[in-house]
Structures are given as C-alpha cells and as structure tokens.
C-alpha cells in the first residue's frame, strides 16, 4: 500500500492512480448502485457457468475413468477442447448462438468442462476396487454406492477442480462480458478502459478479488474442512 502510494504520487500520472483515488471511485460506484448491479451480474454468470461445467465435466470424467473404451473414443476430443483458445470458443459461440446469455454461459462452461473432465477422470481411475467389492457384497444400490463409496473418494478431485475452476471461470466471464454483454464487471472495465479511467477499473477489480477471497474463506475452506474431518489425528 505504502509502495503503491509512493509510486503513484511520484509518477503523478493517470495510468497509476493513488489508493485514495481508487477508494473514491469505489465509493462513487457503490453509492450509485452500479457496483452491486455489475458485480451481481458477473457473479451470477460465474455461478451458472461453474455449475454447468462441474456437473457435465465430472459426469463425463467419471464415465471416462471407469470405461477404457469410452476413454479411447472421447480422449482426442478432450485434448482438442483443452487446446482451443478461450477466445475462439467465445467468438464462435456468439456467432452461432447469438449475443445472448445462454451463448455466454455456454461458452464459459465449455472452456472449463475439459479441465474438470481430466481431473475427475484421474479420480475415477484411482477408485479403490476393495471398496467396490465391499459395496457389491453388501448389495449397495446405485445411490448408496455413489453417496457413501464413490463421491467421498473423489472429494479431493472435486476440490481441485473447484479451486482451479472458480479462478479460471471468473477470468473468462469478464472476456465474455467485454465481447458481448451489456452488464457485468467485464463490461464496466471495457467502458472505463475507453474513458481511460484506471481508478474505476482498479476499483472493480479489487471489489471482485475481495468477493473471491470471501468465497474461498467462507465457503470453500469450511467445506474442505468438513469433508476432511475423518482424516483427523490418530488415537
């Protein structure tokens, strides 16, 4: 903070505003209601794209991890999707499906799905055959097997996909908003870029980073602790 103030005061330039200027922009945006509106729009998109990507990605990943044959057929497509630049998917999605919300969220989810798939595929490959046999002998039904035997074994892989997922998704959501939406943090940053208002750009960025920190410490970490409670100290 001190370094930031020092450098910006010495430069005395629009490209690096002082912390105080950023704070003032933040307060202005907050009071006008703009901040909450655009932050909310972005958060909803992150949430929707994340949910779609996790559900579809983990379903495909678990399937591929359990069936070698399916993996041989689908694997080239996963590699292809992993390597298509996010920007190409977004632009094509807007061209093919129109400048609408579904195209935006679908494009973000499609960027994330192959990552989730690859992570969960590794998880499904490492499922313990011993527990599967136990479940078979004791006649566990599909739901019981999923809830008590399979998903707990995949928990670390879900946690890894979530962590990397949230970070990647919110960055891509901003690009999607910049290219084809009329609200959201990405749209605002684009707007203030044209006005060369760096203070407001920084205000939006910092506000979103704070939100993501809250998500990490108030949601993800407590969830992690809950699902790892059994790994406690040995007696």
């Amino acid at each position: 903070m001190v370094l930031w103030s020092g450098v910006s005061h010495t430069l005395n330039d629009n490209s690096l505003p002082t912390p105080w200027a950023v704070w003032q922009s933040f307060v202005t945006e907050l009071q006008s209601g703009e901040l909450f509106y655009h932050l909310g729009a972005t958060l909803l998109r992150v949430l929707a794209a994340f949910t779609v990507a996790m559900v579809i990605g983990s379903a495909i990943g678990i399937w591929l991890g359990m069936s070698e044959k399916a993996d041989r057929i689908v694997d080239p497509w996963i590699i292809l999707l992993l390597n298509i630049p996010a920007l190409v998917i977004i632009v094509l999605s807007y061209i093919w499906f129109g400048l609408n919300e579904a195209a935006a969220i679908g494009a973000v989810a499609l960027n994330k799905i192959p990552n989730v798939t690859v992570t969960l595929r590794e998880g499904a490959r490492s499922l313990s055959p011993e527990f599967s046999e136990m479940a078979a002998v004791y006649r566990f039904g599909l739901l019981k097997r999923l809830l008590h035997v399979i998903l707990p074994q995949l928990q670390p892989f879900f946690a890894a996909a979530t962590r990397s997922g949230v970070a990647l998704i919110w960055k891509i959501v901003l690009i999607v908003e910049l290219l084809g939406r009329s609200n959201g943090v990405g749209f605002q940053i684009h707007l203030y870029f044209q006005l060369f208002d760096v203070a407001t750009i920084l205000a939006y960025t910092l506000a979103f980073v704070v939100v993501m920190l809250v998500v990490e410490y108030a949601i993800l970490q407590p969830l992690d602790r809950h699902s790892n409670r059994w790994r406690g100290a040995r007696v």
Partner: protein, 251 residues
C-alpha cells in the same frame, strides 16, 4: 414318508460344484488356479478351509461372493441378500464412523435399529463414533465383524479375518467371533492358513491342496469347543498335515 425324511436332513445353505477356474496371464498362457471343487455347507455349520498360501482359497471365496464369475460350474446359495463377508483387510469406509459403517449395510427400514447389544458383545461401544483411521487393526477387525453380523446373514464368509494380529489379540477376536456365532448361529465359511485357529473354531475342516486347488480331504470335529485343549489341537494339526502329505508325496 420321504417328506419327513427330507425335513430331518440338515438344510444345505451353499452347494459348490465347480469344474475349474483359470486366469489368462498377461504374457500369454493361463494360470489354472482352481481345479475341481465339490462340497456343500449345512445350515449353522462352521467350516474352515485350510491350505498352502496362494493355493486359490481366496479365489474360491470370491467365486462364492459373486466377485469372480469366470469359473466353470455352479454355485448355489441362499437368497443373495443374506450373505455377509469379512475381508482380509477390514475395508471400513474411512470417511464414515464405526457406527455409520455398520448401519450402512442395513436396508433403509432397519437403519435405525439399536446396535447396543451387538456393540456390547464386541466391546465397540466406546469407539462407535470413531473414524476407522483412529482404530487399531484389532478394533477395525471387530468393527468389520459387527458390520457382517448386523445383517443376520444366512451365510457368513470370512477371509483370514485375524491375519497379522498378535497372538493375544487374535485369540481375543476368535473368542468374540465364537460368542457372536453362538448368540446368532449362522452358516460360516472361513479361510485360514492357521490350522490351530481352524481347530479352535470349526466343526469341519476342508483341506485344500496346491494349485490348481481341490479338496484333498476333510475332517469333522465333534468335540465341543470348550474341550479343545492344547493336546487336542496338536492331534488335529497332525491329522490335517497327514491329509496334506498323503496327497502331496513330494512335500
């Protein structure tokens, strides 16, 4: 007349008529693990299978449990919902407590039944809310026994359930197994490489030979378990070894 005679015959719970089981090896060729096996178990009997290690005892149990289906022949068993197994490793779900692990195998409508009596016999009451990683191997094996007995199975399969325990703990667990079995008689089939253990627990011992395994002979023990002292155990161990030697003259 024949009806009456039939009803006096002991009920058969498991009937095994297996012609053989081979495994294809990765480098080509086949491993002939199990030869011809024919035996059956009567209700509420306690049978132990003994034999050299790697002879196919575990494969036999896996065929009975339906985990291995690549064999030739037939295995007839009771209504499949009443089979329980205790594996070599406890195989408790590490993310569920002892009590949750036991309750989980019960059908939904029995999930809330009281486990106090069962945990009392097995002395698990103090650790019922512990996770498996917090248990010693002996305690984890007791929890695995509780999980098997809570189902009140018609057929109980045990695969070396007391292996790699110290003598005192193994002895204690055998006592607990017997008291559970007396309280809740069921048909038990147990694999062990420990002939002494088999002698103390079983009322019938099946001696398996080397791979491809088959039943070399059997020994019925009708002495009551309380009277099986050291001398008696030595005597049975001798008899079992003789069955093994007789059929394997080179050993």
């Amino acid at each position: 007349m024949s009806d009456i005679a039939d009803s006096q015959l002991p009920e058969t719970v498991l009937d095994i008529q297996v012609a053989g089981r081979s495994f294809d090896l990765a480098g080509g060729g086949a491993l002939h693990a199990v030869g011809k096996l024919a035996f059956s178990l009567t209700a509420r009997s306690f049978t132990c299978i003994v034999g050299p290690s790697g002879c196919g005892k575990t494969t036999t149990l896996r065929m009975i449990l339906g985990l291995d289906t690549g064999f030739e022949g037939t295995i007839r068993q009771p209504d499949s919902s009443s089979v329980a197994a205790v594996f070599q490793e406890p195989r408790l779900l590490p993310w569920r407590t002892v009590e949750q692990n036991v309750r989980l195998v019960l059908p939904k409508n029995q999930r809330d039944q009281s486990l106090d009596a069962l945990f009392d016999v097995l002395e698990l009451d103090e650790v019922r809310h512990f996770y498996p990683s917090q248990l010693s191997l002996g305690l984890a094996r007791r929890a695995a026994l509780a999980r098997a007995f809570v189902l009140e199975p018609q057929l109980l399969i045990l695969d070396e359930p007391f292996v790699s325990l110290d003598d005192v703990t193994a002895h204690r667990l055998r006592q607990l197994l017997l008291s559970l079995w007396h309280r809740q008689p069921t048909t038990a089939l147990m694999v062990t490489h420990n002939i002494r253990e088999a002698t103390l627990l079983a009322d019938r011992i099946l001696v398996f030979g080397k791979r491809p395994t088959c039943v070399l002979g059997e020994l019925v023990i009708d002495t009551s378990r309380e009277q099986r002292d050291d001398a008696f155990v030595e005597h049975v161990v001798g008899q079992v070894s003789d069955i093994g030697k007789l059929n394997n003259p080179l050993r």
